[in-house]
Amino acid sequence: MALTDNILEMRGITKTFPGVKALENVNLKVKEGEIHALMGENGAGKSTLMKVLSGVYPYGSYEGDILFKGKACEFKNIRNSEQLGIVIIHQELALIPQLSIAENIFLGNEQVKGGVIDWNGTIVRTRELLNTVGLSESPNTTAGSIGVGKQQLVEIAKALSKEVKLLILDEPTAALNEEDSENLLNLMLAFKKQGITSIIISHKLNEIMKVADSITILRDGKTIETLRVKEDNIDEDRIIKGMVGRDLTNRYPEREPNIGEVLFEVKNWNVYHPVQERKVIDDVSFNVKRGEIVGIAGLMGAGRTELAMSIFGQSYGRKISGQLFKDGKETNLADISKAIDNGVAYVTEDRKEYGLILMEDIKRNTTITNLKGISKWFVVNDYEELNVAEDFRKKLNIKTPSIHQKTGNLSGGNQQKVVLSKWIFTGPDLLILDEPTRGIDVGAKYEIYTIINQLAAQGKGILVISSELPELLGICDRIYVMNEGSFTGEVPRSEANQEILMKFMTKSRG
């Protein structure tokens, strides 16, 4: 036993939930000191496996063995696994926004001297930890007042405070912009040098290629293979093949653009921050033509979501000025129902918080935007609703036992399809899609792109906001670049590449 250089071995893990086998005989071997990536489509069982490892699902609720440093482990809860130095950082950050950074880091692990909290010691330790992760914030700053990227770093500092041996990061960069992601990945590489082993779960192939030494691929709750990145000379296509079980020759579906007249035009758009006295959107003008897919690139905080929401029924900001034209005629989208009536749809960035009513089922979520369409005298026709929802389920290939399923129980890709359904059901001419594929696996992404292409082919205008440059380059006909609230560039597809976009993204308006 002692001969192994594996810090962690999980053998024959099987975990069943009522009705589903989430994991079936899964094996995972992680070498000491490496960065090990866990990949697979949504619902493949990655998060479940990590919950088994960290003791969220206690010993006895699964079959199989966990060996950490050669010793068999029987974790009853998260505390047990943390005592051995296994720390998991979840996708949804678990910081308490009202508490300070220092308080958050030592929450549940307070630095005590003689029965009372040693605040000076806490602050000093926090400073050291923040230094290690490269975060220059005061330990007394409240966690809610810093950005998501920095919060992620605080989480990592928290993990370090627990003498971490094995760090597990569940989609750490999903909510981060390119720059913050880059920092985080570099930090992982630095930890590797210090001998900390990491497991990373991510959908972003380029990131995995950058940091991972080994990759274990899960599919439908089973281990498919473990790849050694260097030894086996692995590339992105090879990983995708493992994940989807087939060759995905093209990550973006083919499309023959058929671009018509200008559909929607924005002129001299200005928006102020809802509470502060500053301009968030500064003199932005753009247009979208029929049948065209237009992208908006930009770093986090460039004002892309704010722009979209201020146009969509003025759902963001104050003192909004400027003109909107649809089919050449000036329109007024003063509130959301007017925007919907005028054929504008906005698919939100955060589908759980802003997109879906998770406790309600698929059919009700689908029709909420356009109940008028299935009503007579304000009375909803339930049967018509079933038809509509069933129709979308088939057309968009929503994988679910039935449309009576609560949306909270669906995977990310299927949730996104429901959000798309509800907006397509309003019969929009212009669809604004904010990060349409965030947190979605490769297979589902391809399906979403296909849907987007179909909508464009029907003569609708599509505006896509995305932080993933390859995605914009893959699907858009034209890309606007935004920085600090204004447009810094406009690039047609033929001339666009990552370098040009990046240059405009970081350029201030001259």
Binding site: F312, E353, I357, M359, I368, K372, N409
Partner: protein, 387 residues
Amino acid sequence: MKTALKLFRSNIRQYGMFIALILIMLLFQFLSDGNLLKPLNITNLILQNSYILILAIGMLLVIITGHIDLSVGSVAAFVGAVSAIMMVKHGMSFPVAMVLSLVFGALVGAWQGFWVAYVRIPAFIVTLAGMLLFRGLTMLVLDGKSVAPFPEGFRAISTGFLPDIPGGGDLHLLTVIIGVVLSVFYLFMEWRNRLIQKRYQIEQLPLPFFFLKAAAVVVITNLFTFVLASYKGLPNILILLALLVAFYTFVMRKTVMGRHIYALGGNEKAAKLSGVKTKKMTFWVFVNMGVMAALAGLVFAARLNAATPKAGVNFELDAIAAVFIGGASATGGVGTVIGAIIGGLVMGVMNNGMSLIGLGIDYQQGIKGLVLLLAVAFDLYNKNKSA
């Protein structure tokens, strides 16, 4: 048998509290030596609980939107007091006074709805303030004294019965006929529904169970009307309640407005971005609550035949308990009108039953508290199991 078990499992949440209600009724029927289900007592039970049930319907809407209303007891007392001043002191005719009272309730609701929906002060605080404010106003209006008596016509709302047609002998014939008519109407609607479901190819209840359910509903309805008929027939207040239940069930299940209220409670941000006018909706839900509180106040005043400064104390708690026992979620987005009514009846039957067997008020309070806690725990347990 297997299908029966499966049906039972999937419906236990929906019908669980209804079954509990029946068990509680049977228990007290046994403990009270058959007094609970006597015609006189059943009639009393309805009269005693009518105003709580009216409040529970309004409260259900408030709770679905994710808010709460602590002021309804005080508002009911206040409107009762105002109506007494209008009718008793100024001799206003009772229909006019009632309409004015309901308008008053709407204004009170609008006042609270404004603070909750547009200023965004938590409803707990707004209505806590309202609870104190309107209690104070009640005492002020009544000058600390009871005002009585009300005109005969007004009192009939709470104490009157449906007039009979001749020919029934000891039995209230019209009541029996209404029971039969309702049964026929129910069967017709169910059958029509079934045909539509067939057309849309929706999974249906297997035929034997369909008949079983239909038979159960018909038997219970007719038994109920028969029991009432052997006393004085249908109380007026029961007819009012039935109309309210039917109307609000329809609104919440079938109309765009109902859908918007559920959506708003389920996820306010998502609802807003889907075109639901969330502020307006919240405002009107509170206006509605104000009207319902006013109606409850009138019914209570009519029953007591007096407006008193102490009227309506703790009504809000009974109404809130009824809604939660009926399966509504404290975080909003979940709940049904029928559920709230069943919840209210559970409380009412327990009150009545415990009084019948001579249990002291001390025990009554404690037991009711435990029932509330257990009912919600049971509901949560079921939800977790199904998730």
